[in-house]
Each structure stands twice: as C-alpha cells, then as structure tokens.
C-alpha cells in the first residue's frame, strides 16, 4: 500500500500518487535504456569481447542478447506487479473518496 498522511487533501494525495507513478515509470524506462544502450555500445565498440566463446556455439554476444530480451520481460513484470498492487489500490481509494463527497 502507498500510505498517505491522513490530513492531506485529495489533490495532495493525487499529486503524491502521480509523483510515485512517474518515479517508477522513469526509473524502469531508464533501466531498460541503460541495459539496451550498454548492449548496443558493446556491439559498437567491443566487438572482440562479444565474440568471446563461452561454450561451443555460444558467444557472449548471443548470451547477452537473450538476456536483454529477458530483462525486458522482467522490467515489465516489475511494473505490472507495482501497478496492480499499489497504483490501482491507491487510485481506487482516491476514486471512492471523491465519489463519497
């Protein structure tokens, strides 16, 4: 649960929720961008490193490529869990409050 001080008004609560939503959204976007751009930079500037063979048929590049796809899945999972648990609950509470008035 996202908890709010009981004294705050509905608009303060919405502002807090808004800030929390963007904090999560921007951090996760940044995480995806950093992972992917790092991968692209390795492709651009560290070709020999990515050519390193880990096992027969498996280069570091291919392994990292698969991991980037898994990372995308994982970050989406993190967001969906946060949104389902915290964001939706807080939003529903705000809606109830405004309906009650």
């Amino acid at each position: 649960m996202v908890s709010f001080p009981p004294v705050s008004s509905a608009s303060d609560q919405l502002r807090a929720l808004d800030a929390a939503r963007w904090r999560i959204a921007i951090s996760l976007t940044a995480a995806m961008t950093v992972i992917y751009v790092a991968f692209i930079l390795l492709i651009a500037y560290a070709k020999p490193l990515l050519a390193t063979r880990i096992a027969p048929g498996l280069s570091l590049g291919i392994l990292l490529g698969v991991l980037v796809i898994f990372a995308a899945w994982l970050l989406i999972l993190v967001y969906v869990r946060w949104a389902n648990r915290h964001y939706d609950t807080a939003l529903a509470a705000l809606r109830r409050d405004s309906d009650a008035k």
Binding site: L14, L17, D18, R21, I24, A25, I26, L28, T29, M32, T33, Y36, V37, F39, I40, L41, I43, A44, Y45, K47, P48, L50, A51, R53, A55, P56, G57, L58, S59, G61, I62, G65, V66, V68, I69, A72, W73, L75, I76, L77, Y79, V80, A83, D88, L91, L94, R95
Partner: protein, 508 residues
C-alpha cells in the same frame, strides 16, 4: 533447391488452401463480433489478452518474420540486433505511453498531443508524419510480399509486386472493415504457431539443442557469424539504429491506435504484457530460424533467390518440411503482410481523408458520403504509391526498411507525444515544429544515406554516412519541440495541463 524458377504445385496448393482458410476464419470471427456489438463500439470491449495478441499481430510484420530471419541467415549475430531492438520498445510503451494514452485520447495518438493544444495545426503536422511512417512500412511489406509471390509462383518480381498491390487493394477496399482486431489475432496465432513449428523442425536435426545449431553455423561460416560484424561496422550506425528501434515503437500510429480498443488503462496494461510476452517469444524463435536457414539452406542459395535475404524462412520451411510446409509458411507470411498492409492502409487513408481533407480543406464540415469516397480514393492512392515504391526498393531487406519507418516514427511522433504528456510548457507551435522537423529531417537524411544514394541511385558516395538517421533526428525533434515552445508561450495550453494531470490517472 528449386528456387524461384520452378513453382511447385503442392506449395501453391498449400498456399491457396491456407490463405483461403485464414480468410474464412477471419470473416467468420469478424461477422460474429459484428452481430453482437456495433462494429466500432465493440472496440472498447476488446479484452486485454485479445488486444495483446492483436498488438503482437500488428507488430510482427513481414519485417519480423521474413526480414530478421533473412538478416540472421546472411549476417548472423548482426540480424539479432533487430530482434532485440524491436522488443525493447515495448517496455518504453508500457512505462511511459500506454496508460496515459488510453486515458487522454479517443481514437488516435493525435488526440493526446492535441488535447490541450489547437486542433488543426497539430492534426495536419501529425497526419504528415503518420503518412511518412505508413509509406515506409508499406514499402517493406510490398518488397516482402513481392518476393514471396515470385518465389512461390515463379513470376518476375515487378509483376509480383503489381499483383500483390492489386490483391491488397481489393482486400482493403472490399474487406477493409473486417480487417480489424480479429484479423490480427488470427494472424498472430498462425504466425507464432508457424514459427514455433518451423523452429522445432529445425531443432529436431540438432538434437533439440540450439547451441548445436549455432555451433554448426560457426563451423560452416566461421566463428564470426556469432559475433557483431559487417552489418554494424560503423559504431555510430549501430547506435543510431538501436535508438530508432527502441523509441520507434512508441510512435507507430497503427500500434498506438490499438490502445483505444480496450475499455480502460488497466486493460491497456494487460495488453502490453501479453504483447511483449508473445513478441519476445517470437523474436527468440527468430534466432533459431535465422541460423537454421544459414546452416540448412545455405547463404548462397538464400542470396540467389533474393539479395535482401527475405526468403530465408520460406526456403527453410521447404528444406525441413517439404513443399506443403513451404506453402503453409508462405501463406502465414502472406496473411501477415495482408493484415499489416490492411491496417496501415486504413491508418494512412484515415490521415489523408479525415485529418487533412475534412479538418483542413473543408474546415471540419464534410458529408458522410464525401468522407466515404475520400477514404477509398486515399486507399487507391496509397496502393499505387506502394506498388511504385515497392518496385524501386527491390532487393532491400525488409527489416532494414521497417527500421527506417521506426526512425521516422521515433522522430516525428514520439517526442511530441512525450512532451505533451510530461511538460506543462509544451505549445501548439512546439508540437507542430517538432513533428514537421522530425519527419522532414528523417526523410531527407534517409534520402542522402548510402541505402538510397549508393544502393538505389548508384551514386559513388553518400552525403550522410548513417544508414539509419535516428541518432540525429530524434534529439533534433525533441530540441525543436522544446525551443519553439519556449519562444512561443501558450498560456491557455499551460493552464489546461492540470486537466491532463487529472485525466492521466482517472480517464474521462
């Protein structure tokens, strides 16, 4: 290998059978949705899973199936850059775009940009950018479809492209309204199923071990195929392509449109999860299809059929599953192209007839009949343009072509969309300039790039060194949007931003 010269009756029969079957399924499904709800109103009752599959269907175009498999088969690891780049755009859509888009808009992403700005200038600029994206996406589909028909029926490429263009035109004109969500769902399932079967048939020959397959590729064509190489020899080229792929998804008009078919923001969230799962799984399969074609078909045989490598997956189907399977895979690929082209053409026709003609030329007043005629005329216009361009871009890889469409989308639409959601100070002029500069600069740099100058116009050198313009045009479009907004403040737009802040969470 019988290649393009020897059309095979089994493959042709399989092709016609599966195309017919998929059209019947689509038609029945579409008819059922029609009888239960109004066709367009049914839009907002699509479930999250259905919409997720439809998104995946829209996204996995000829580029993904034919283009990436081809690039991997010819260039090895370098082709995988597209697989990965096409996927990482989805988390960006999820975190930044999907829910605000659903809550702020009505029918298109332009609604969101125009929400607190002046409607007409924003709509014109966005139609302009939208059409450019649609055009490049269409060219890629035409090149893919033309090659496919040539391979299957042994026709010259140019004839094949004209036939494909006419078939698609007929499909969109007469069945356009059926070509909605269900087309994409049927297609997404077919494509995932077909790719999975193909991958399994390949792996059967390598004791179900992908590494054994990759190793076989390395032994035949050298260890280099497992590492970055020729395709991204210029580091800046790699970065430019990567950025365009990542941010392009969030600017594709036909993808963004799909978020309005679901009832609320939470369903939009479910849609993206399902879409990302399906698309990611599909792109993991392209690793196997690409290297499978490299080993089992061979690079020379693939290049002999199409210089761009686009026929790698169908040729692989022929090797591992025979003529009937080739027919099936070709049908799946063709259905994929038809569905994507139908969606693109309708989106383009809507931009031409609704945003440009009705809003601007007629000042918002046009009869129902006039709009109907115009939408069809725009469709014909787009079909002719795509046939001409499809012939001009012969031999280009379709994944590369779609990469260009992504660069335009990321430059023309993405910055304006983000700034309109995030920034109070964004103005009508800022949006207008950002979208127009984004579109024009990316078109211009594509024209000056080696792909057009050297490959198509046969010039000695190209003025602009990068094959994908994203690295320059995306930051440029952001900068123009911000600077122009700062010098042309719009108090009314800033005042109405609090409405945006409210609706981002609560919807309407």
């Amino acid at each position: 290998m019988n290649g393009a010269s020897q059309p095979n009756i089994v493959a042709m029969g399989g092709f016609v059978l599966f195309i017919g079957l998929s059209l019947v399924i689509t038609w029945m499904a579409a008819r059922r949705t029609k009888s239960t709800e109004h066709f367009f109103a049914a839009g907002r009752t699509i479930t999250g899973t259905q919409n997720g599959l439809a998104l995946a269907g829209d996204y996995m175009s000829a580029a993904s199936f034919l283009g990436i498999a081809g690039l991997v088969s010819l260039s090895g690891f370098d082709g995988l850059i597209y697989s990965i780049g096409f996927l990482v755009g989805w988390p960006v859509v999820m975190f930044l775009i999907a829910e605000p888009l659903r809550n702020l808009g009505k029918y298109t992403f332009t609604d969101v940009v125009a929400f607190r700005l002046k409607q007409t200038p924003v709509r014109v600029a966005s139609a302009f950018g939208g059409l450019a994206v649609v055009a490049f996406y269409l060219i890629a589909q035409m090149v893919g479809a033309g090659n496919l028909i040539r391979l299957l029926f042994g026709l010259p490429y140019e004839t094949a492209v004209i036939i494909v263009g006419v078939v698609m035109l007929a499909y969109v004109l007469f069945g356009g309204m059926l070509a909605t969500t269900w087309v994409q769902i049927v297609k997404a399932v077919l494509l995932l199923g077909g790719a999975f079967m193909l991958a399994m048939l390949v792996l059967l020959r390598f004791s179900m071990n992908p590494l054994a397959l990759f190793d076989a590729a390395a032994q035949r064509y050298g260890e280099a195929v497992l590492a970055p190489g020729r395709l991204v020899s210029d580091p800046l080229d790699a970065i430019s392509l990567g950025i365009a792929l990542m941010f392009g998804t969030a600017g594709l008009p036909h993808i963004l449109m799909r978020f309005y078919t679901v009832p609320d923001a939470k369903t939009a969230r479910v849609s993206v999860s399902v879409a990302t799962a399906a698309i990611g799984a599909f792109y993991l399969l392209t690793f196997i299809l690409g290297f499978g074609a490299m080993v089992l078909v061979g690079q020379d045989a693939i290049r002999a059929v199409d210089a761009g490598g686009n026929m790698a997956a169908p040729l692989l189907a022929e090797v591992v599953g025979g003529q009937a399977f080739l027919g099936f895979i070709a049908a799946v690929a063709f259905a994929t192209i038809l569905a994507v082209v139908a969606g693109l053409t309708l989106a383009g026709a809507a931009a031409l007839s609704h945003d440009i003609w009705v809003s601007v030329v007629r000042g918002g007043h046009a009869t129902e009949r006039e709009q109907f005629v115009l939408a069809r005329a725009s469709t014909v216009l787009l079909a002719i343009a795509s046939i001409v361009l499809g012939i001009a871009f012969k031999g280009q890889n379709v994944a590369y072509m779609v990469g260009l469409a992504f660069a335009i989308a990321a430059s023309a639409n993405f910055p304006a969309l983000i700034l309109s959601i995030f920034w109070r100070g964004f103005t009508t002029r800022g949006a207008q300039f950002s979208m127009i500069v984004g579109t024009v600069s990316s078109l211009l740099l594509i024209y000056l790039s080696p792909a057009i100058q050297i490959d198509i116009l046969k010039a000695e050198s190209a003025w602009f060194p990068l094959r994908n313009p994203g690295l320059i045009t995306i930051p440029l479009s952001f900068a123009v949007g911000i600077v122009v907004s700062l010098v042309s403040p719009e108090p009314e737009a800033a005042r109405r931003f609090s409405e945006v802040e409210q609706r981002i969470h609560f919807g309407d």
